[in-house]
Amino acid sequence: MSIAKLENIHKVYHIGKIDFPALRGISFSIEEGEFLSIAGPSGSGKTTILNLLGCLDKPSQGKIFLEEKDITALPTSKLADVRRKNIGFVFQTFNLIPVLTAMENVEFPLILEGQHDPKERRQVTEDILTEVGLKDFLHRRPNEMSGGQQQRVAVARALVKKPKLVLADEPTANLDSVTGEEILQLMLELNQKTSTTFVFSTHDKMVMDFARRIIRLRDGKIESDQKVNKK
């Protein structure tokens, strides 16, 4: 089943008096359970695609479907609802809420989603933090954790509400290679275990090595779309 589909997407940014075309007629679909990397050099349109898939931005032309539903024309408030229910984000700079503990950061999306039973919420949160290897860090605040641990919290936060799609914008860019690999391994394991669809942008070869499908972009167009068979 197609989780997401982009049809002839164009995106033009207006910078001052200059129009800058970031995407020029992109079309592809993402199947459930994929572990997809969108690769390409800086300015190729990777982040723009993630923003569009994440309902943070709207295309200048073309249509976007999430689970067969056209979301292109939805108003901003409805897009927030789509994000809240269906999409998890992992950011390059972790972006945890500094005043909340790991547990509270991960619990936050569940509260936003409207899960009212605190006991159940905490149990789900604790389980996922245990799964990402942070059982002993539940009550630490972000500034009391390493970059790798913070990104694990971010991954747990993205997954806790069991979203259809997790979008990770260069998730290892702020980590050393060993930690970055650990995070990718973790995401891959969770992808295989939960069948959650992962889409991440990168220009890092090591990250691409983990992907099961790589879409390469150049100048806002798809250069190649390649499935990778691995054991």
């Binding site: 923003n51 994440g54 943070l56 931005d57 408030s77 927030a80 609802d81 789509v82 994000r83 809240r84 229910k85 999409i87 984000f89 950011f91 700079t93 972006n95 809420i97 500094p98 005043v99 909340l100 509270e104 936050f108 999306p109 509260i111 936003l112 989603e113």
Partner: protein
Amino acid sequence: MKMLFKLAFRNVFRYRRRTIITFSAISYGLGLMAVGISLYNGVDTHAMDNIINSQTAHLKILAAGYFEKKDEVPLEFTIDEPQEIKSLLKNNRDIQGIESRVLFQASIISGMDELPCMGVAIEPEIDPLVFKIKDSIIDGRFLEPSESKIILGSGLARDLGLKVGDDCTLRIFFSIEDFIWNALDLEIAGIAKTENPMVNRGTVFIPLSLAQEALSLENSVTELAVRIEDRRRLLEVRESIEGRLASLSKDYEVVSFEEYASDFKELMRMRSRMQALIPLMMILIATLGIVNTMLMAVMERTREIGMLAAMGMRKMEVMLVFIFEGALIGIFGSFAACVIGGLGGWWLEAKGFSLAFLGEEIAEMVSFLPMEVYKGDLTAGTLIFTFILGTVISILASLYPAYKAVKLDPIQALRHVG
């Protein structure tokens, strides 16, 4: 909602120094405002009490026409049958005392020195029922009926170097313009220091019979001063007195202390307008503090706001986080303001402050209020007002920064380098 509140609560303590500065601006600003309001209320109440106790009583019965010319202290508008009026009002239970008095322009002479003053002829046996002059005698004693003695205000006595037992001459004017006067040689029975500096620095008291004889008034007086049991019943008592007086052939007017002290009331009204500027300034300081703090918070947390939006947080929820933050700083600050205002107000109410540290003469010169000691009047209403005002201001001041926060484009916000 609970989570939003928790987030706001923790963010308040995230930037401690800035929160403390804003908190201080609110607590000191509004605290001083509360003290100011207490002082203003106190001055209003106590000054009026002082005027009542030393000058106007609650009501004055005057011959028709006197009130209009009261500043000239005229002697031609007299009440010729004071006893008859007193008998008429004898059974009125609201009335605590009625005293016949004569006010006259005078000057007091001691050796080569002469100072102008207001002369008040009183009925010594009745005066304590209506005024508090007897209680304010600091040296010597109060007057006895018909004796040839005088009581001086403390300021007058000091300025003329007179003390109890000294002799002085009282020049009583029938007419200042025509310079027609009579003189009395009197021994000083006592020195009065009332709570009203205006009385202390320019009033003398003599027995009524003495003044009536000197001014050839026979049994006439210029006013009947009335003290009532309950000030709240002033209007009813006044109407009842007016009703009784209507049966008399001569026209009289009944004037309340508020009308008598209308100049003072006007002064207070002007002061209150000026004093309204102080809370306005405090409100401005508190508002700017909150707006500044919250705008800084929005700037510093731009990426966090982008992340919250990305997670699907609604605009109203983002706004609420910032409004809660502002409100919390406001609530803490307003609470501290109530403590400061409460302590300051309590001290003013219990002790008050006097301008005496400037020296008695300077204090009397600069004091334009009928008070020796400036006392406060702290009410729960003042503190509640302070608390609500501080909280409401903080919430209102947070609206603009909160609006700025939700106007941020999530993508731009996420890219923000802070």
